[in-house]
Point group: C2
Chain length 582, copies 2
């Protein structure tokens, strides 16, 4: 066994070629065994084992600095930099994160989780190296899918004129999460077909020297390529053609399905996805139906189509009315604005954490032009993404403070559909809708009329205490009201619906027979909904308790724990209300 | 005279070549006369007259749709689409905006002012055209400078695989606002040098057909090129080489200085810039001094270096410690994070309206990694940019709700320097600093100690009313306090300094002998500073009056009018406080 003895990259360098090949085989087997039990980014890591071994064989990390894009392909890197135990020993499986993490190792330079950032971050390291007159190579690793993001282009464009050492390793596995989209991918295919000789070379057009490695799962070829550019004094791209999912037949055949996989049976290739309906799956059904019934409807997505139930079958059925723009969220928003201006009915769907990439496009391209596009934003939830880099808790401040944009938060499945129907057909404003990402809630208790902007819906009129539960936290308000009932308080229950404005008339009306207003929102309170309510009540003497998440980069905190920490359980809410009532 | 008779593009089509040439000469003379009196984007428009005439001669606007990037080069377009009077008649000079504006004309499809958006917006129109089975060409116009923005790449990459009509006109005047930066510009230069024959062709690498027009100020050559691609059924780039500033010798020689020019003397070329120091000029002096005294300091800018006083002379003096990344704000932020991680002391400076382009990079690349970069954000002000597309009023909600980021708002010149000194040297957090953009204020009344996060500075302790004036609105609080004094109220005066947090202890302390807190901020209140104060006071019974700008896309509203409209004059503040006190 080689892997057990790898305590640092120095131990990789001590091996001969046969040893390296054995190491690669062990690493791949170890990955499959571990991932079959824990789940994780499966196909991307299986394809990148040889490249990682070759990088650490040739370069001298951490003096030479390797920066991984998204860093969802960094499992092999972690194995070779003192963290093999976390893959070999089931008891240590959860001791490391799924992305690079500077707190874990001096070989990890950034916490990364979004795409298309590695070149820019690495350029910072290279520029600092040269300002500080230090030595060493800087290597940015980036996948072909990530090249579709604008930040990657900006980084490459700037790196292409850098007159010092800078190496970019392009891991071309012919895939984004789903298939690639964009004209660039035609020319990458030409480069693969011509062994790098095609004249249409994106990297050369940005000023890079260029080298192609046809078999990116051949460790000898990779070592030769990396050796040839080590210590080079100009920017160079090594274009490595790898096999996504290599070594796991089902993943090789269906890399999209295996990009991120839940635990699976390594003998049969059956992934245990769990069961039950999800908001994503319901949205997929719903949107496909809209597409079929109206040729003007067009659904836009940015490279994560499965998140809204657009697996390959539905994509095919939708035809030209489904557009995957690649990992190009900025383009997606501007495209939606143009489509709406041109008379179509565009719906852009993405996660809260990725809509962050589009603030200026939302503000300038969409909202300043007030074009009636619909945005479906998948929010945080019990089963939501909770890595620091994938938190879905910042969208309320981001979206609700842009003029002209209506941000609606449905409380249940039927309300989600009803609001989306309204948003698609109205022509007054851009409308964003927050899609819950928790257990499905179905109810018929909601208003079916929209357009009367910022009118909150009072579902039950009580007195003394009013609970305003935004979106999927409306149910939390309902349960908190039951708690308060135990103390003889008949609380008013409000479904605010609008995160982007406040029902000033209702708040004024509540003053007469209420002492406390509580706002509940499933996201950071800073800049969010409750603060708006507090400000609107600021001069009228009403006590307002603003409840949501404190502004913080939480790291894998389970949802229930997060709620408890922020005094968001119905019991805690009731306790705090009782204390305020005195 | 031809121009007077041009009421629509149909009148352009009726001219013969000699007529078109005369029209071009008249348009250029008209532009020079008008701009010498009103100021405006001078050099970009002078270079683009012939291309605009040729576009309207060949294509049939508005059935064929032309989308301009930034749209600061659209003056000729406006002249030819029914708005010539606004350029010919001095009384009508101010009847139109400086950018495309759908409210003005059916020939304008979007309100635009930021760069790099035209391809994506136009792709939306093209896709809608095809979904709705309509006819017509869609043409995106984009300058070479704008190509450096990631959104433009995302749009081009997606357009490059579009199997229907889509035309991109690249206006290559060899300049961004200042010189171009990036490897792409080497290959554009090669294309110019080889009349389009160089193999390193960025556009072809993204899937476009390609054609080069060597003399982009020759209307016949342009007409021939446009005719050859009209109604084409695949994506094509027409690369047009134009002369920025053409026809005005001083602008041809110094296109950076003439990109946007104040009114000037058309006989002597002397621009009337006005006089007096500005925060930008002071920053330029200050930053250059920092650079000279510390080799680790590096100033990053994204294509508007003059805004912080980095004219060509200072850029030269700064050497490698000044980096202009082009119009690549996303890269700038990630680069700053990498530089800080690598041990340098990066300072990224930009306007509030442009930091909008970097939310995700701020959150993920910088703040999740908690790297100690410094950001200098130029805010709204009396002399600030007030076009809808250039409002500098949304940065407080944008920046102050991101974890780990400290957002400080100095009140005067000395405090700005003092805070910046502290920010550059500390190593705990990323720090953003809001640079006032109003008349200079100099005072010695501020605390020189930082690091005690979210501790507000009480400058004067009175009673009953506390005025919290953030940043350059501290002076407004001072004057409002003088107003209140007339009514016997000795108001407490607070310089909050921190926009990103609240001094909870101070607020609790004020409850004892205060009835009203007033917050003042120079930006939208939605998601901003005052709402945080209101929420923090929500449960303690203090009345809080939150004052700032209502969430709205204001269009060229003079600053004093804006303040009055939002009840922000010291007199209005005093009136409202008195009413609350009862």
């Amino acid at each position: 066994m080689f892997l057990e003895k790898i305590k640092s990259p120095a131990d990789v360098k001590a091996l001969d070629i046969e040893g390296l090949k054995s190491l690669v085989a062990e690493m791949r087997a170890t990955l499959i065994k571990k991932l079959s039990q824990t789940g994780g980014h499966t196909a991307p890591n299986l394809g990148f084992v040889e490249t990682t071994v070759a990088l650490h064989y040739v370069f001298d990390s951490p003096k030479d600095k390797i920066v991984y894009d998204v860093s969802h392909q960094s499992y092999s890197h972690k194995m070779l930099t003192g963290r093999a135990e976390a893959y070999l020993n089931p008891e240590k499986y959860w001791s490391i994160t799924g992305y690079t993490e500077p707190k874990e190792s001096e070989h990890d330079h950034f916490m990364v989780g979004h795409t298309s950032t590695s070149v820019s971050l690495a350029m910072g390291l290279a520029t600092a190296r040269d300002l500080l007159k230090e030595k060493g190579n800087v290597i940015a690793v980036i996948g072909d899918g990530s090249l579709s993001g604008g930040e990657a282009f900006e980084g490459l464009d700037n790196a292409g004129e850098y007159a010092r050492n800078f190496i970019v390793v392009v891991n071309d596995n012919e895939m984004s999460i789903a298939e690639n989209h964009g004209g660039l991918y035609k020319s990458l295919a030409e480069l693969r077909a011509t062994e790098g000789k095609s004249p249409n070379n994106y990297f050369r057009s940005l000023g890079f020297d260029y080298q192609y490695v046809a078999d990116g799962n051949n460790v000898e070829a990779l070592i030769a390529a990396f050796k040839s550019v080590k210590d080079s004094e100009h920017p160079v791209v090594i274009h490595v053609h790898t096999k996504k999912g290599k070594g796991l037949p089902w993943a090789e055949e269906n890399p999209e399905g295996w990009h991120w996989a839940a635990p699976f049976n390594p003998e049969t290739g059956v992934i245990n996805w769990g069961s039950g309906e999800s908001y994503g799956e319901i949205l997929g059904q719903y949107l496909l139906q809209k597409i079929k019934s109206d040729s003007k409807v067009v659904v836009i997505h940015s490279a994560v189509p499965a998140a809204i139930g657009f697996h390959a079958g539905r994509r095919k059925e939708a035809g030209k009315q489904f557009i995957d723009v690649g990992i190009a969220e900025e383009h997606a928003v501007a495209l939606a604005s143009g489509l709406a201006k041109g008379g179509a009915k565009p719906i852009y769907t993405t996660h809260s954490t990725f809509i962050q990439r589009t603030y200026d496009q939302l503000s300038q391209d969409l909202c300043a032009n007030n074009n009636p596009a619909t945005l479906l934003i998948t929010a945080a939830g019990a089963d939501g993404m909770n890595d620091t880099t994938h938190l879905c808790i910042f969208d309320i401040p981001l979206l609700s403070n842009i003029p002209n944009l209506i941000y609606l938060c449905p409380t249940c499945v039927e309300e989600l559909k009803c609001i989306t129907d309204w948003a698609i057909e109205q022509t007054e404003h851009p409308v964003a809708i927050r899609v819950p990402n928790s257990v499905l809630h179905r109810t018929d208790v909601f208003d079916k009329e929209y357009g009367n902007q910022n009118v909150f819906k009072v579902e039950h009129r009580g007195s003394r205490v009013a609970l305003l539960g935004l979106g999927d936290f409306y149910q939390r308000a309902v349960v908190a009201a039951l708690e308060l009932k135990k103390y003889g308080i008949d609380a008013t229950l409000v479904n605010p619906r609008y995160a982007s404005g406040v029902d000033v008339a209702l708040l004024a009306n509540l003053v007469a027979d209420h002492d406390v207003i509580v706002t509940l929102e499933n996201g950071v309170v800073a800049g969010g909904f409750g603060e708006k309510v507090a400000a609107a009540c600021g001069a009228n003497g009403m006590k307002v308790l603003v409840r949501g998440l404190a502004k913080e980069f939480y790291d894998k905190v389970p949802f229930n724990e997060l709620c408890e920490k922020n005094r968001l359980t119905p019991q805690q809410i009731a306790e705090d209300v009782l204390q305020l009532l005195g």
